[in-house]
Amino acid sequence: MTATDIAASNTIAAALLGADYPNLRIRPEVQEGDNVAPGQILFRDAKYPEIAFAAPIQGRVTSIRLAARRMLSAVTLAPADASVVAPDDRIGPDQSIRDYLLARGMWPAFVSRPFGGPPHPDAKTAAIVVSAVPSSRVAPDPGDVLRGQSDAFTRGMEAIAELTDGSVHLCLANTSRIDAPALPRLQVHRRSERRWSSPAAQVARVAPASPGRATWTIGYQDVVAIGHLLETGRYDPVRRVALWSDTTRPAPTLNVPLGADLSQLLGQPGPEHQIWSGAAPSGRVSAFLGRHHLDASVVAHARPAPKKPHPIIPLAGLGRALPIRLPAIPLMRSLAVGDAETSARLGCLQLLEDDIAPLTAICTSGTDYARRLRDVLDRLRSDLS
């Protein structure tokens, strides 16, 4: 199967996952069994109904699952030849870019730091960071992906610049061949890929985020999708990702829909292995591609969490496992006991679940730091509001 037919063949199931949108309660606009077209709105944020979430494939809604406290777990779609027309309404003459992106399901492409999740629909930001650095050694090269799409990328960047009065930061690898569009408030940053591939590292470097000063991040392929949406009125759910396992090298890059079913693409893993979404060891175990992930792989099973806590042995490698230079072991200790105040002082507000996942993969204690970080971030956010 070539790169283009995977997405075009409409044979891949897909899902929108609660893990990508922390604490999201939804207001569904479809029911299980409904046929949907790409770009059709599946549900809205119950608290901020302006934020819409769009279907990535043509198919049928197979399940709408909620987790504890009625948070979104997953909305899954199976491919089907449904005769539903995909929406293609263009931006209205009096409509703002913000309203259009909200209404067409592109707003969740942004991640607001600190705390994660899509930005508040009325929020203002001092900086938007566009990440165009390969997320891993095997991830698709942004220069290759953007070849032939420079108009859509430029259009997307122009639209993003309208969302802020501050700067738009385009982060590139220092070997990147991408030509930055000529925009007045655009700042281009080039650095070595090492310790620069994660949005956490980019934000910490170019526009540090704090509770009173949020920074939004977006991936380069989402910028292209925004450009396509504005040019054609059609929602573009296709992303080029690297899918790899130990047996397939070099890693093939494929065009797949957002939230694609990874077990269809990578095969069912054996009992010793599991499917990982994201540039391992960042990311998480997931049967479906994460909303912001451009890598997926088959990795060995992590050991299950012990019943009684094991000690955190302060291994030297733990300090280098985070994308930014933070005191990793004191932070792990404070997260493990749920000390929100100390965790904030040690820099946990600069991190999201994907950023801290490498610590779980190394630590002797068996603690799930992504989950502990989310608990602490939620507590810090509720203390502030």
């Binding site: 000690p311 042995i313 291994l315 030297a316 300090g319 005191p327 004191p330 190394i362 002797t364 068996g366």
Partner: protein, 265 residues
């Protein structure tokens, strides 16, 4: 290196104990052969004592039995003479294992190396005790262990470099003692006492301060002349540096926070 680090995921202190045993086995084997039956008897007694305490605490606390005292006994026998009375070995190791490790919840939960505590107690309670200088073979046999601990992250390169710089720097400034002899005692003391990850600082800056302090304290406790070089001051240097390790981390974090605030306004 990545695979070596990841192999410890979720395994708790058992990975630390297993790797430390692999590291200490070659020099211990050489020392047992060199010193003969008295050392073997001493090792057997030391093992029995620490394992009884480990078992007793595991039973009382309903924990899984973990032979964490194995490394304590091995390091103690490696660095002490075989003619210490067995009752003294028993008292010293019992105190060190219980107050240096088990009361905190076991290996990895405390802030001291029980082997360092045991050796310090032995030196304090027997003022005339002279710890034997390791043979060249035994000191060299510590090096594969050092490499293993460095590769697995159980020994920090920052601590090693800071310790070597501080010790070497003072040596070259004052040139007081024979460098080869100093290295013979410094290698086992560093690998098995100072480098212990549960007793050292945990931040980058803290580790540099910890290693540097340990290196400098050797000269404080040994006296600047330190002729001949012995392992005694290294034990007190390791113990004192471990006691201050949380302070070193605190200072390092405070400096990093300050630098961050200054940079980001």
């Amino acid at each position: 290196m990545k695979a070596l680090t990841h192999v410890m995921q979720g395994r708790g202190a058992i990975s630390l104990i297993a790797l430390q045993i692999i590291a200490v086995a070659p020099p211990l084997a050489i020392v047992l052969v060199e010193r003969g039956p008295p050392a073997i008897v001493q090792f057997g007694a030391a093992l029995l004592i620490v394992l009884v305490w480990d078992y007793a605490f595991a039973k009382v606390r309903h924990h899984r039995f973990l032979p964490q005292g194995l490394t304590t006994a091995a390091i103690f026998v490696l660095l002490t003479p075989p003619d210490i009375p067995i009752w003294h070995v028993a008292v010293t190791l019992s105190l060190a294992t219980v107050i240096g490790e088990l009361v905190f919840g076991g290996r990895g939960f405390g802030f001291l190396s029980p082997a360092t505590v045991a050796l310090a107690l032995a030196l304090l309670s027997l003022p005339n005790l002279e710890l034997p200088e390791p043979s060249t073979r035994a000191a060299l046999a510590c090096l594969p262990g050092l490499a293993l601990l460095l590769l697995t992250g159980l020994c920090s390169l920052s601590v090693l470099l800071a310790f070597a710089t501080a010790m070497g720097g003072i040596h070259f400034l004052a040139a007081p003692t024979d460098l080869a002899q100093l290295a013979l005692v410094a290698v086992p003391a560093f690998v098995f006492l100072i480098a212990d990850p549960t007793a050292s600082a945990v931040t980058l800056g803290g580790r540099v301060l910890y290693g540097g302090a340990a290196g400098a304290l050797v000269w404080v406790f040994g006296g600047i002349a330190m002729e001949p070089a012995t392992i005694n001051p290294m034990i007190f240097a390791a113990l004192t540096a471990s006691l201050f390790a949380p302070l070193f981390d605190h200072v390092a974090i405070a400096l990093q926070t300050r630098a961050g605030r200054l940079r980001h306004g």
